[in-house]
């Protein structure tokens, strides 16, 4: 076990609630994910007009990164390692709807570009000017052991100074994100057990 890696900060975002470092920082009942994510964007006074062009999965990942990558948390080389179960299915369905009818076949390029789950990583990289290691994995559920190993190895092999990582899932009008920043600073040790504990809280 490596004792000098820490979960420097973390957040949990579900349909109605945001918890940042163990404290509830936002609660809002919205009709759908799109409305909820927009309300979060407005509430935290984020200024980034391209946000509105993103799909729900990218918006969710983007907002998590906004909460965690503050000026004091930022380092020059932050890797991004995300995972989820639904991949980009939420947007894939929208794309499919636009091509179902051959008589009314007008696929939207703006939707099509989000039919990959890792596009959100690109959006975060553009926003924070990151040119770092990144990966997006698909699991049935959040795999803390895998994440722990992968995040540790990135830092251990000097591929990154810190890692923004976690679970970001959107499907059937529900969203579920658990994102955290792994670095050499912090109070919560970066262990599989702690990741599971924080995810389940």
């Amino acid at each position: 076990m490596n004792k000098n890696r820490y979960i420097q900060s973390y957040c949990r975002i579900t349909n109605n609630v945001i918890i940042l470092n163990g404290k509830e920082v936002f609660r809002e009942s919205s009709e759908d994910i799109k409305s909820f994510l927009k309300t979060v964007y407005k509430n935290f006074e984020i200024k980034y007009s391209k946000f509105f062009k993103m799909d729900n999965l990218s918006k969710l990942a983007f907002l998590g990164a906004e909460l965690l990558l503050t000026d004091e948390n930022k380092s020059s080389n932050i890797a991004l390692v995300f995972s989820n179960a639904a991949s980009s299915l939420d947007t894939d369905r929208k794309h499919q709807e636009s091509i179902n009818d051959i008589e009314n076949y007008f696929p939207s390029p703006a939707i099509f570009v989000y039919t990959l789950p890792n596009i959100g990583i690109g959006e975060i990289s553009i926003r924070h000017q990151l040119k770092s290691e990144n990966a997006f994995f698909i699991f049935e559920k959040y795999n803390a052991a895998f994440h722990h190993t992968y995040e540790n190895s990135l830092i251990q092999m000097n591929k990154a100074n810190s890692v923004l990582a976690g679970w970001v899932n959107v499907d059937k009008n529900t969203c579920d994100a658990f994102l955290y920043l792994v670095s050499k600073k912090g109070k919560i040790e970066h262990t599989t057990e702690n990741l599971i504990k924080l995810y389940n809280n």
Binding site: K38, S49, F52, K53, F106, P107, S108, P109, A110
Partner: protein, 85 residues
């Protein structure tokens, strides 16, 4: 023609998700790309789809878009002359 220009502004805002912009913010002569509205290459593709879907205009050469999508004025003029629905 003025109605068409208003319609185009509303469609551009809606189809391109320009949440922070109102119809009244877009002047007929404003550049849609670059320093104007700041649209990007995906937006250009979306506009090409919009011409086809809403006005029955198929652009055979995407390079035409550079001239057609210069401003609301140029878009409206092109649509008026070429629309099939």
């Amino acid at each position: 023609m003025e109605n068409l220009k208003l319609e185009l502004k509303a469609k551009i805002i809606e189809n391109l998700n320009l949440e922070d912009i109102e119809v009244s913010d877009i002047k007929n002569t404003d550049a849609l790309f670059g320093d104007g509205l700041g649209l990007d290459s995906i937006d250009a593709l979306e506009l090409i789809v919009m011409l086809d879907k809403d006005y029955g205009i198929k652009l055979s050469d995407p390079k035409q878009g550079k001239v057609i999508f210069e401003s609301i004025d140029t878009m409206a003029a092109y649509i008026s002359e070429n629309k099939t629905k």
